[in-house]
């Protein structure tokens, strides 16, 4: 993980963080930019890029680890956002969530295909210690949003956090997570779900 300074990721428009993720006004703004992109508005898309590229690239980097590959993943993700912008449905989640979901899937596909064999050879502890917070501690300070996320993460049990970390940032399947953590198959998926539900409720994401 890089030691680059954090982004004021949650509030690029200068709106103080509300209680539910990206502020409603940011969410609406991003959705509007997506709608304009769907009509072929490249300036709107450039604005969308500027508002989200740090989060998208950061997520790709966190999952694939290699900066060059992270760049490719982010590029693929943004192109897909552009191509499929007309298919974004605001009734089924926020624009940011749609974008991050798309990027995450691309990143996970990348690590599972090309990089899979070598990456899997390295032990979990070599790659993941320390789990979660400490990895991101350098990036947590400035953003209110990030602080809120961290607080929510603190509300999870250690084992929930560990399972979510491996699944979301590690790109492992729940079966692999179970194996890494020496859990019976089926336990990891429960932890991931319970942890995400708790995270959702603590962060006030509408369910």
């Amino acid at each position: 993980m890089s030691t680059l300074p954090p982004e004021s990721a949650g509030t690029p428009r200068g709106v103080p963080a509300g209680h539910r993720g990206p502020t409603p006004s940011e969410g609406e703004h991003l959705a509007e930019l997506l709608r304009r992109s769907a009509r072929g508005d490249q300036a709107a898309f450039a604005e969308l890029y500027d508002a989200t590229s740090k989060r998208v690239f950061g997520l790709a980097l966190r999952v694939v680890r290699d900066p060059a590959q992270a760049e490719e993943v982010a590029q693929e993700a943004f192109l897909e956002v552009w191509r499929t912008s007309a298919r974004f449905d605001g009734d089924r989640g926020s624009a940011l969530s749609w974008l991050m979901t798309l990027c995450h899937r691309k990143a996970v596909d990348r690590v599972r295909s090309a990089e899979a064999s070598t990456r899997r050879d390295t032990s979990y502890h070599q790659q993941n210690q320390p789990v979660d917070h400490d990895v991101t501690a350098d990036a947590v300070q400035a953003s209110l949003e990030a602080q809120r996320v961290r607080k929510a993460l603190d509300g999870l049990t250690v084992v929930q956090r560990e399972a979510i970390e491996l699944a979301y940032f590690g790109g492992y399947t729940h079966t692999e997570v179970a194996s890494i953590l020496d859990l019976p198959v089926g336990t990891a998926k429960t932890r991931i779900r319970d942890g995400l539900i708790r995270l959702r409720d603590k962060m006030g994401v509408a369910s």
Binding site: S2, G58, R87, H104
Partner: protein, 228 residues
């Protein structure tokens, strides 16, 4: 609600599933509004985790993305069949050189005589299933029509070359109305639009990012829906 599969919602939301589990869960999602809502909310929560990882990308990424965007057309929205019918009048094309119902084969596939056959006598109830098959090169294309709906299945259809896809069209006299697409062998692709009044189903080979009009120089074949 299936309790077992419901428990997979979290893993699915963060892509912590293998391909089989994903396919299985997505089939379940189609029928389970509760799971759909849960996945949406869990994805939103997971997406916020990335707030802590925000990292400034190299400037080259912005240039690369915007350059690519400038030469890429956004895909059309997914529209319901009814909307597609209303839209079909806007998808007008110059009259086909050859009669639409006739077989057109180009691109080295080789002309073939269609052998459509039907289960039913012509003029029978529209809702009755009618099946038409035809050979396209080494592939067999089957169209099953029932009322205003039709599906296309293929056997032995080669995968579309990189950057290309097959587009499916319902041919109404001189008009090709977009009805679906596929990238290779496909099973029961449900066509959008009104198949009841179509004369034929056409298949063209198109650029993945090509315009929404059919490339009539690349018609792989048409299946006549009027012969019986």
């Amino acid at each position: 609600m299936n309790v077992d599969i419901h428990a997979l919602s979290g893993a699915y939301a963060v892509d912590a599933v293998d391909d089989l589990e994903r396919a299985r869960f997505e089939r379940h999602l189609a029928d389970c509004a509760e799971c759909r809502a849960e996945v949406t909310s869990l994805r939103a929560a997971a997406g916020l985790l990335a707030e802590s990882s925000a990292t400034t990308p190299p400037a080259s990424l912005r240039e690369a993305v915007l350059a690519e965007v400038a030469t890429t057309r956004p895909l059309p929205p997914v529209v319901a069949a009814a909307a597609e019918r209303g839209r079909s009048t806007r998808r007008r094309f110059p009259a086909l050189v050859a009669a639409a119902a006739a077989l057109i084969v180009v691109g080295g596939v080789g002309a073939t005589v269609w052998h459509p056959w039907t289960d039913d006598a012509p003029g029978s109830d529209q809702a009755t299933e009618q099946t038409y098959t035809a050979d396209v090169g080494s592939a067999t294309v089957t169209v099953v029509r029932s009322g205003d709906q039709a599906t296309v299945s293929t056997k032995g259809m080669p995968a579309a070359p990189a950057g290309k896809k097959y587009e499916l069209w319902l041919v109404h006299d001189d008009r090709y109305v977009h009805a679906g697409e596929m990238t290779g062998d496909a099973s029961q692709v449900l066509l959008e639009g009104d198949a009841a009044t179509a004369n034929a189903v056409g298949i063209t080979l198109e650029d993945v990012d090509g315009p929404p009009e059919p490339d009539l120089d690349n018609v792989i074949g048409t299946v006549d829906l009027e012969q019986a």
